[in-house]
């Protein structure tokens, strides 16, 4: 059964539809890239998948008993975070919170999971450092480790490479691909169409109505893909 399936969904705010007729499904182990212009409804879709808002109509169903606390999320950075006093370990560990229930403190198992994920992303040596003093790439690794603490089943990444330099961007993409190879299902929102084609298994192209959903291979020969690629290459 699909992890997430979306059928004829209409998304929007205050009765104004932004995306219509959205239909796609996500299987365990997929690497889905959501691409599209600014304002095409990508963020709204993310919020809906995270169950922060409901679709205006249509069905969005979660299979394999995917519960709300089984989605790891890497949000776009907010201004408040940038001057926040917090150590790397504190940030990563806070990802474990969603399974704590009412328990006031973290268990030894949760602390171990935080340490394991820091190890996995190569940030163990930074654990006592202040989050706000790290470079952009290091900060994203910290947030990715936190997302993995929240869930190793499905992670949802909202523009994970925004503002990173090319070298760090490439590293970040490799890390995400490695996670996907080890069995983590990935949904990534991106402007970077070249990387989407290089790394993802499936692509969802949204622009008010979904222009394309299918495997990355098919996207390359689709009308939407060809048009978007031309635009992307021209800008890049």
């Amino acid at each position: 059964m699909a992890l997430i399936s979306c059928e004829n969904v209409v998304l929007g705010y205050e009765n104004k539809p932004i995306v219509e007729n959205l239909t796609f499904c996500l299987e365990q182990g997929n690497y889905l890239c959501i691409v599209g212009e600014n304002g095409s409804g990508k963020s709204t879709l993310i919020r809906t998948i995270l169950r922060l808002q409901s679709p205006m109509s249509g069905y969005l169903t979660y299979g394999d008993g995917l519960r709300k606390n089984e989605i790891g999320y890497l949000p776009q950075q907010t201004a408040a975070q940038k001057d926040f006093p917090a150590s790397v370990y504190e940030v990563v560990l806070s990802g474990c919170l969603n399974r704590s229930g009412l328990a006031p403190f973290y268990t030894a198992k949760q602390k171990k999971s935080a340490r394991d994920n820091m190890e996995l992303l190569g940030i163990t040596h930074l654990q006592k450092r202040c989050y706000r003093e790290l470079s952009g790439g290091q900060q994203q690794r910290v947030l990715l480790a936190r997302a993995l603490c929240a869930s190793s089943k499905l992670i949802l990444l909202d523009e994970p490479v925004a503002g990173l330099d090319p070298k760090v961007t490439a590293d970040m993409y490799e890390i995400i691909k490695d996670l996907n190879r080890s069995g983590v299902t990935v949904i990534m929102v991106s402007h970077d169409i070249e990387a989407a084609i290089k790394y993802s298994t499936h692509i969802l192209h949204v622009a008010h109505t979904p222009k394309f959903f299918g495997t990355t291979e098919d996207y390359l020969s689709s009308d939407a893909g060809i048009a978007f690629l031309k635009g992307g290459r021209k800008n890049g």
Binding site: L50, Y73, P75, Q81, P85, S87, S100, P104, R146
Partner: protein, 279 residues
């Protein structure tokens, strides 16, 4: 010095009041870190004015213990201000300015219309705005204050990890299934409680200083959440002790003395922070 020891030995009220002040300062500092980081400091300031208005109503009604009226009103206002802030249609800061000035005016008007048994309206207003001398605090105030601050302290420790998570990144917490709105409301409610209990001793206008100064001082020097929390608590308690001792020695109002100590601590920590940065 001998005079201060004499006060502590012979006036149990002073001992209780000092204890209550220390508890208030601790709670204000703990909450302050969260409020400052969540950009909620102005909500604290707005709430203290609401408390002033509420206390005026309670006094006009002839209540001996105004807290029974001011506590529910302030807590309600806390929840409402939080709701307004998350509603993008109304500017949050403008709403707070409206509420705080409105409550001040309303409170002072009520005090003048219904002077009650009190002989001096301006004296009452002054006490509510700036607090009173440590000798003016009665035993019942101290008891209520101690119980409520102990409760706030307990809630803070129990929900420490959740408070960290929603302060650091509310959208992540929401997305991964933490009920952020519940904890935001909880923070607003306990902020309201602390402001109400401290009005009597510190004064409505000065409470926001107890909330913001220790947190900001600690953040000059420390860079992890836990160390900032601990440092802010220590600063706040130290300033409260200094404030009480000085106010007993030279008979100044205790609230403003503590706040001046907090301002001095902020200066000191800014200096330390600047020196550490240079090295």
């Amino acid at each position: 010095m001998a005079k201060i020891i004499f006060y502590f030995q012979n006036f149990p009220t002073i001992r209780y009041a000092t204890l209550a002040l220390l508890l208030i300062s601790l709670c204000a500092a703990l909450l302050g870190v969260t409020l400052v980081l969540k950009r909620f400091s102005m909500i604290g300031d707005g709430l203290s004015h609401v408390t002033f208005g509420a206390a005026a109503i309670a006094t006009a009604m002839g209540l001996v213990t105004p807290i029974y009226v001011s506590l529910p009103i302030t807590v309600l206002a806390a929840v409402l201000l939080l709701k307004i802030r998350s509603n993008t249609k109304i500017q949050g800061d403008a709403a707070i300015a409206m509420v705080s000035a409105g409550s001040l005016a309303f409170g002072y008007l009520i005090m003048n219309l219904f002077p009650g048994k009190s002989s001096s309206i301006s004296g009452d207003a002054c006490t509510n705005l700036f607090g009173q001398g440590i000798l003016g605090i009665n035993k019942q105030d101290v008891a209520i204050c101690a119980i409520l601050s102990a409760l706030v302290l307990f809630i803070f420790i129990f929900f420490y990890n959740k408070i960290f998570a929603i302060t650091f990144d509310e959208s992540f917490s929401r997305a991964t299934g933490t009920r952020a709105e519940v904890y935001n409301t909880l923070i607003a409610v306990i902020t309201g409680v602390i402001i109400v209990v401290s009005m009597n001793m510190v004064g409505a206008l000065l409470i926001s200083a107890l909330i913001t100064f220790p947190a900001l001082s600690a953040m000059r020097v420390f860079k992890t959440f836990r160390s900032v929390i601990i440092c802010a608590s220590v600063i706040s308690i130290a300033c409260a002790i200094i404030g009480v001792l000085v106010s007993l020695a030279v008979k100044t109002p205790v609230g403003s003395t503590i706040v001046v100590a907090d301002v001095a601590a902020f200066g000191l920590f800014s200096l330390i922070g600047a020196i550490l940065k240079r090295n």
